[in-house]
Structure formats: C-alpha cells, structure tokens
Assembly symmetry: C2
Homo-oligomer: 151 residues x 2
C-alpha cells in the first residue's frame, strides 16, 4: 500500500497560488464542504494535488452562474476515495453544458415576451407575459422581492 508521502499533498498557500483564489476563500470552501483537507500534526491543512482541479471547477462553475450549494451537488457526484480522472470531469462538464442551455432558452423566451410588451408599451401587470410566475429567471443571485415573487 502506497503511503501518502510529503510530496503528494500541498499546503493551503500553494493551493491558493495555483488557483488564484484567496487563502480565506479556500478555507471558506472547506467550511462549506466543497473541498476537504487532511491535517498535519500541527493542525495545518494539507490538500491533494487534485484539489487544484477541484477548485478550478468551482471557479468555472461560478462563472456559469451556479451557486456554491449547486456546485457542491455537482462535486458530490465525483467518485469517493480515488482522485477523479478526465472522464469524471467530462461527465460533470456535460451536465453543466445542459445548465447553460437552459439559461439560454429561458433568456430567449424572456426576450420574446419582452418583444410583445414593447409592442404595446404597456408594462401592465395584468397583461404582461413577463409576469408569468412559473417561468422564473434562473438569474443567480438577485433575489427579487422575496415574499411576493417567490410564492
């Protein structure tokens, strides 16, 4: 059984440097369960090299508009125990492509509705199709008037 040697793991600063993410952010991600670290005798975090890719994935997924919670779901599909390989990443990337597709579709529909609205210049709550509640914008982040739009 191959023991984990010193060279297999990296300290948090290195992970930060290799990914361009702040050290504090990495601790934050660990806290949220997005990445996992082992500890040295002196309680310092040590990450696997493969975590560089894992963090990269987080960054990319964020750019695609996913929330950290959603990203965690995706990462959870990675195999336990072994370092994820190319095929694992490809699979996960595919499911992200689907997510983007959805966003594009939603935006396209919204644009069509807006076009109708522009036609009459009404912006009427009663008539305007933009108010179809079921067809929520996936627009990550912006919450909107909570009690009202979310019910």
């Amino acid at each position: 059984m191959p023991a984990i040697t010193k060279d297999d793991v990296i300290p948090i600063g290195t992970l930060a440097a290799r990914t361009g993410v702040a050290v504090s952010a990495i601790r934050f991600y660990e806290d949220k369960g997005l990445i996992h670290a082992v500890r040295t005798g002196g309680n310092q975090r040590r990450f696997l090299r493969s975590d560089i890719r894992r963090v990269s994935f987080i960054l990319i997924a964020q750019r695609l508009g996913l929330a950290l919670a959603e990203i965690e779901e995706q990462l959870a599909t990675l195999p336990e125990g072994r370092t994820p390989n190319v095929r694992d990443w490809q699979k996960i990337s595919h499911s992200m492509r689907a997510a983007i597709d959805d966003k594009i579709k939603l935006l396209t529909r919204t644009r069509a509705k807006l076009d109708e609205c522009i036609g009459c210049g009404c912006l009427s709550l009663q008539k305007c199709q933009l108010y179809n509640r079921d067809d929520k914008m996936g627009a990550a982040g912006a919450t909107g008037p909570r009690l009202v739009l979310d019910t």
Copy 2:
C-alpha cells in the same frame, strides 16, 4: 393650474396591492431613490398613479437580471416632471432588450468555450478559455472570489 387633488395620489398600501410588492419593499425602493413620494401633513407617503407602472418596471427589470442600481439608471432616463407616456416606456424597454441580447451572446460564447474544455476534460487554469478574465459573466448577483476574479 390643475391642483393635485386627493384622487391623483395613492397611499403606499394601495401601491403595494396594485403591484404585488410588499410595503416594506416599496419603502426600500424609495430609500434607494427608485421611486419618489410626496408626504401628507401627517408625514404619510402619497404616490402618483403612474408609479404603479414604475414599480412594475422595477419588477420586470429584476427578472431580466438587472440590479437595483442599474434599474435606477434606466429609470433616470424617464422625463422629469411629467408622467411618463407609452413612448417613454418603449424606449426604455428597447434598451433592456439590448441587455438581454448581450447576456445571450455571452452565454453562447461561454458554452462554446466549455465545449472546447469538455473535449480535453482538462479544466486547466492555464489553458481553459473559460478563464479569460475580460469576458466576465454578467451573472447578476453571485460575486465570486472577489479579489481574484474581479481584478
């Protein structure tokens, strides 16, 4: 000169009911300068009927992913003094359509890049085109690792 009669203005509760927005949210919008109210002798807010449309616009623009600050900019283009007419709203709607177009284009580009990435399964920070910093996702809301991605 036509005096403003009692029937021309509405209290905050009515505006809330007509738009489906919470009273607290309307106060919040006023605070942020998105809408303006006159006050009665007893310090209660009175809104113009046309503010119903103004609030509707805010809701729609939010669905399109605009932040309140951006919405304020849009609203600032409305004429001072007179109640905005259909043509005013059409103009503003057109500029929103452009905003949506941009978002769709950006997403489409991103999807193309992801496709390249899926090809190799690399997710490498060095190579992956998804890391082109200038091409930020407009993804309203999600901040991302601040110091890093925003510089």
